[in-house]
Symmetry: C2
Subunit: 194 residues, 2 copies
């Protein structure tokens, strides 16, 4: 991304979008604020005026990723109103598309790998998002009338986390390619009374 | 780790062990060669004499992790000779212990998250290890007489990758705590003719 491709957005949005893109592609530690400011067509002083520190900018990027991901739940509810089983399978399709399309995996999980300091502000954002996301999936499984809803939701969460990390390690033709098959097989297995 | 705790090992081994420990705890990008040399009770010149560059040292650390992990297969064969099903369940126990005990997850998967350059020498090591590990698990599932051995092995691989990454994001009480239950449930589901 360069300044001339996003000429009309405001500096704050431009910095945020640029940082998200660079962190996503290259990793959080590999990218400095100088490079972000330059790619956003601004300067470090402006960056620090909008985001007090690199850590604050990281935190805001991760909140933004979280908001975008949680919006998927609302879209699924609108697309399949009152059909919880269809929402669940729709979620698998959405997740599978992400796994294939994006070789860099989940920005939130990646942040937890990179930011090892126990008190880094990003860690709390990651933990809260992952917990909310998991709880939403538990509710959906329960509303879909599935036995052992918690175990199924946790299994689907780990399969997706695993698919996204495997996609990074061995590419799109590795085990992650079978994520939808696995997810459907696991749902089928858990639908039977355990 | 400090020099006086490992006084009798040779510099190369000391540097390698120290680097593995620091990379594991703090991340690869967060640790510089200066800090590794100092913690190993030596200096940068000695480090570079044994390992041409930080990238070479990273690569050797990852090869070392891979060798150690693959040794688990041999241990399982010795512990449960000719009982493939017991080896498979033994592998799950070993993996579950790792998930709980180690909040930093798999060094090889973490390296793929951190080292985003497509030609980084570490990426090939990670890919080869993950592929070998997956193939070994496929063979074990097949030898254990399980239907859909490839899909089961891939599912177990992703569950474990997911557990190790989830353990980093939300801690030991999150979905990763159920890894053994999930793995056993999935095996039970796949044992039934599909």
């Amino acid at each position: 991304m360069s300044a001339d491709t996003v000429p009309r957005t405001r500096p704050r949005e431009r910095i945020l979008e640029t940082a998200r893109d660079l962190f996503h592609r290259s990793g959080i530690r590999a990218v400095g604020v100088e490079a972000i400011a330059e790619a956003a067509g601004t300067n470090k002083m402006t960056l620090y005026r909008h985001f007090g520190s690199k850590d604050d900018l990281i935190a805001e990027c991760l909140r933004d990723v979280g908001r975008q991901t949680m919006a998927v739940w609302r879209d699924l509810e609108e697309r399949y109103p009152a059909d919880k089983r269809a929402q669940l399978h729709g979620w698998i399709e959405e997740a599978a598309t992400c796994v294939v399309a994006d070789g860099r995996g989940c920005d939130l999980a990646n942040a937890a790998v990179e930011l090892t300091e126990p008190n880094h502000p990003a860690r709390r954002i990651v933990e809260d998002f992952k917990t909310d996301h998991r709880n939403h999936l538990v509710e959906l499984c329960r509303a879909a009338g599935i036995e052992r809803a918690e175990l199924l939701a946790d299994t689907l969460c780990l399969l997706l986390e695993g698919a996204r990390v495997s996609r990074q390690s061995v590419g799109r033709n590795g085990p992650s390619a079978k994520f939808p098959d696995m997810a459907h097989a696991v749902i089928a297995a858990f639908v039977r009374p355990g």
